[in-house]
Symmetry: D2
């Protein structure tokens, strides 16, 4: 992943794009890409979303790539390690949603 961040750096510097990449702007771009990813699923049933045809899966894969690229770019600008952030959040979620209380329920933890 470190290697990917380095490639991303080079890519953006070669295009003189760092000037546009404030954390604010990158958070917008990340949100836009997440929406483009979601767009592929908006008219599908949940079952259909589990078995995508090949051409759709390819497009979804590209959008997943875009989301990760912007997430890495944003994290890098803020000097945050996204993998460590995910680990920490998972530990926190384990406290917020104890297995015996949350079992089988999608209720938000605040309502448990």
């Amino acid at each position: 992943m470190q290697d990917l961040i380095q490639q991303l750096h080079n890519f953006n510097q070669n295009r003189d794009w760092e000037q546009f990449h404030s954390p604010k702007n990158l958070s917008m771009a990340l949100s836009v890409e997440a929406a483009e990813l979601m767009e592929h699923f908006q008219w599908l049933t949940q079952d259909e979303s589990r078995t995508l045809p090949d051409d759709k899966k390819e497009k979804v894969e590209e959008e997943i790539g875009d989301v990760l690229l912007y997430l890495l770019n944003l994290s890098d600008k803020l000097d945050i390690d996204p993998t460590e952030a995910a680990r920490a959040k998972l530990r926190k979620n384990a406290d917020k949603y104890p297995a015996h209380k949350a079992k089988g329920s999608a209720t938000k933890y605040t309502e448990l």
Copy 2:
């Protein structure tokens, strides 16, 4: 990262949450988390977004964790490797936005 995906699996199975995690639903959750991340930046100037106070940075870090967790969960359900998807997308972007044409411009590649 593989290790993180395994932890995420265990976390969700212990809570019987896999039933809610269709790719459709996960794409929604990912988009919601990306928006929660963006919310921290919505009233900031671009400059302010570059120098977050510590308490705000902590919250942003949590949201980055959430975005990555849902991205990994969704990718896993679709049997897509997000890092490989990002690598492939970066190669594709290099073709779409040749450095000499894109230099210093945020114009969408379709308009180049």
Copy 3:
């Protein structure tokens, strides 16, 4: 609706909030509110989403209010009439998706 925009103006001026309300920032806030609205539906089945319990419906109603407030605020800043924009878009959609071709299909018009 004109009356509502006037109330919104007064509300924001009394709080000296106009300084934050650039179209860029308002587009972010609108997107955040649309995500908060969607969050209420993310773990529901489509059928469940058609018959919301009263307390959930109340929260959804509030989020719908928020989305419309930001849409009106943004439109006002850009001197765009949102109702007229919707009418024009509906006419355009009628051309893009002729009834006989689009019937029963959610395929994007570009793929028709």
Copy 4:
């Protein structure tokens, strides 16, 4: 606006699209359109966002139309009056953010 909702009904029924329009799906489509609207602003400065060139403004206008169409469609399905919801939310916000406390601050009301 009532007239616009009626046109939207006819448009969707002629295309047999009501089957796709569960509140869940419509909340996704609304969120996607809000992101497409935001995309036009993502690389602009706040000042640039206040003075859009004509061709960009036209595209923004279309996206505003799309957002309102989906908001009306979703509200209609849930039997919610969006204008009334906005009015109620504005009253609620007046309580949450008293002018003398909120003046000039973008701090979230929970932190006031």
